[in-house]
């Protein structure tokens, strides 16, 4: 690990000023990605600014049924919060299916959104990687690509976004609140993640030093009947091969409202808008779900070893829809 300096920020304004004014400074929150990246030399700051003392770790119930998660709220605390469990079960489930209990105690919600990809070539300083070293190429193209994405890829990057929580948050239409040197602003979660295109090194539409102060989830009726299904190589403590976050409201046997996120198969937390459009007003039954899933995956691009993910994602989405529909039919809240 290369040497770096350390400072602990006392308040949000100071933290934003310290990092925003210095391209060589990076934030340190839970450290579960950052310390790993420092150790393997992919992150090479001259200084880390520890933000763990900042007063942005609270979880607040909003009037009307929403929830505001502080940027430094830990994954474990967000998952355990009664308002999250009751109003947004899909998020609680996605959080608890991510990483391990120890990592969830450390990792912050803001850091979860900012975590880096798990592509082995991104993490290997000797491999070509357009994300780590723009213009160097992509060793994953034609390489070991079993875990890589089939949606949202480009000829420059096919790395899968690893977050579970962000998949639920995109289905829940969450908003990311930021504080930068120029002030505060908000970005819809779906817009917070950029497709790789020809600039895979740029993952978020934010400036250096902008800090995630909160993630806000708006109230929604269908979110109370929501579910996260994660399929992986082992039962626990593993990234998704495919996952689906579903919020579904069925009325008179038809899909009244539905929101779907896909994980493990795309270069960003994937909002399945084609599937949602196909389901609008459709009979709440398996045939509709299969048609919608096929529609969403129609644009998928298979690589050498990951073609199975297309069928796996279809089936994952269909099962998640069936499970969520059955929760609604029982009148349960997950």
């Amino acid at each position: 690990m290369r040497p770096f300096a350390y400072t602990r920020a006392a308040d949000v304004a100071a933290a934003v000023a310290e990092v925003g004014s210095d391209p060589g400074s990076e934030y340190l929150a839970g450290g579960t990605t950052e310390v790993d990246m420092l150790r393997i030399g992919v992150a090479r700051p001259r200084r880390v600014v520890d933000i763990n003392d900042l007063p942005i770790s609270g979880i607040e119930e909003l009037p009307g049924g929403g929830v505001r998660l502080g940027g430094l709220a830990r994954m474990s605390d967000a998952a355990a919060h009664p308002a999250v469990r009751g109003r947004f079960p899909v998020l609680a489930q996605a959080l608890e299916k991510g990483a391990s209990a120890q990592l969830r105690n450390m990792a912050s919600m803001g850091g979860n959104l900012m975590q880096r990809v798990r592509c082995a070539y991104f993490r290997d300083g000797g491999a070509a990687c357009n994300k780590r070293a723009p213009g160097s190429g992509c060793a994953a193209l034609g390489g070991v690509d079993r875990g890589h994405a089939v949606l949202g890829t480009s000829e420059h990057c096919i790395a899968t976004h690893p977050s579970d929580a962000a998949v639920a948050l995109t289905a829940l239409d969450a908003t990311v609140h930021l504080r930068g040197r120029a002030g505060e602003r908000s970005i819809a979660l779906d817009d917070f993640f950029l497709l790789p295109g020809d600039t895979p090194e740029r993952e978020h539409p934010i400036e250096h030093g902008e800090l995630i102060t909160a993630i806000e989830i708006p109230a929604s009726e269908e979110a109370r009947t929501s579910h996260y299904l994660k399929v992986r190589d082992r039962e626990s403590y593993e990234f998704a091969l495919a996952s689906a976050a579903v919020a579904l409201l069925v009325e008179d046997g038809r899909v009244a409202r539905v929101r779907i996120g896909l994980g493990g198969v795309a270069t960003k937390p994937w909002r399945a808008r084609r599937a949602e459009a196909a389901l609008a007003g459709a009979p709440a039954e398996r045939a509709s779900y299969e048609r919608a899933a096929a529609e969403e995956l129609a644009a998928a691009v298979p690589r050498r070893m990951n073609a199975f993910k297309i069928e796996l994602a279809r089936r994952t989405m269909v099962r998640a829809l069936e499970t969520t529909a059955s929760l609604g039919a029982r009148g349960g809240t997950g």
Partner: protein
């Protein structure tokens, strides 16, 4: 990396009276070695470390607290599990400097002198290890697991212990030990 410092235990009160690290720190530390103070198992310890030194390396290499083990050093195995402010975390993905002002507890802090913690007794009674390398981390997770209330059945125990890998695969016996303590059979220490 950095020069080793003395291993003598510094009583917490004495160290605090000298008072270099008690208040909030201002300004940058490092990148060279800097003196910090860590509260480890209830004792204030002074050490000189670079900011890049992990909590795990600070404990093992600088303070001689070798209970926490280095398995993967990348957050995948759980052998380095310790508690910071009472919550189980990974020492390998935590910077030592970031633990100033927080309470660090390692497996050495579980026992009361020669009196083993009930979970330690239950691990012995249930043969819950073979090589023992992952055991300090398993113990720190297992005790935390019960406090978190995530041990209602074997499936829940397995899920919430999944961050601690045991290559000897002592998992059934680890679960048995946890069940025993959960059900009040681990020993007489509260």
């Amino acid at each position: 990396m950095t020069p080793r410092v003395g291993r003598a235990r510094i009583p917490g009160q004495a160290a605090r009276e000298e008072g270099t690290a008690a208040g909030p720190r201002t300004g940058d530390l490092g990148p060279g070695p800097a003196e910090i103070e860590l509260a480890v198992n209830g004792t204030a310890r002074r050490l000189r470390v670079e900011p890049r030194v992990s909590l795990l390396d600070a404990l093992r290499e600088h303070l001689g607290v070798t209970g926490p083990k280095k398995g993967c050093d990348q957050g995948a195995c759980g052998a380095c599990t310790v508690w910071v402010d009472g919550r189980r975390v990974l020492g390998c993905l935590t910077l030592a400097v970031a633990c100033e002002g927080r309470e660090v507890t390692t497996v050495e802090g579980l026992a009361d002198g020669d009196g083993l913690h009930p979970m330690q007794q239950a691990f012995l009674a249930n043969d819950a290890f073979q090589c023992g390398y992952c055991t300090p981390g398993q113990l720190m997770s297992a005790v935390a697991l019960l406090e978190e209330g995530h041990a209602s059945d074997d499936a829940e125990i397995a899920e919430w212990m999944s961050g601690n890998i045991c290559r000897c695969a002592a998992y059934p016996n680890i679960r048995a030990a946890i069940r025993q303590v959960r059900d009040g059979g681990g020993g007489d220490r509260p």
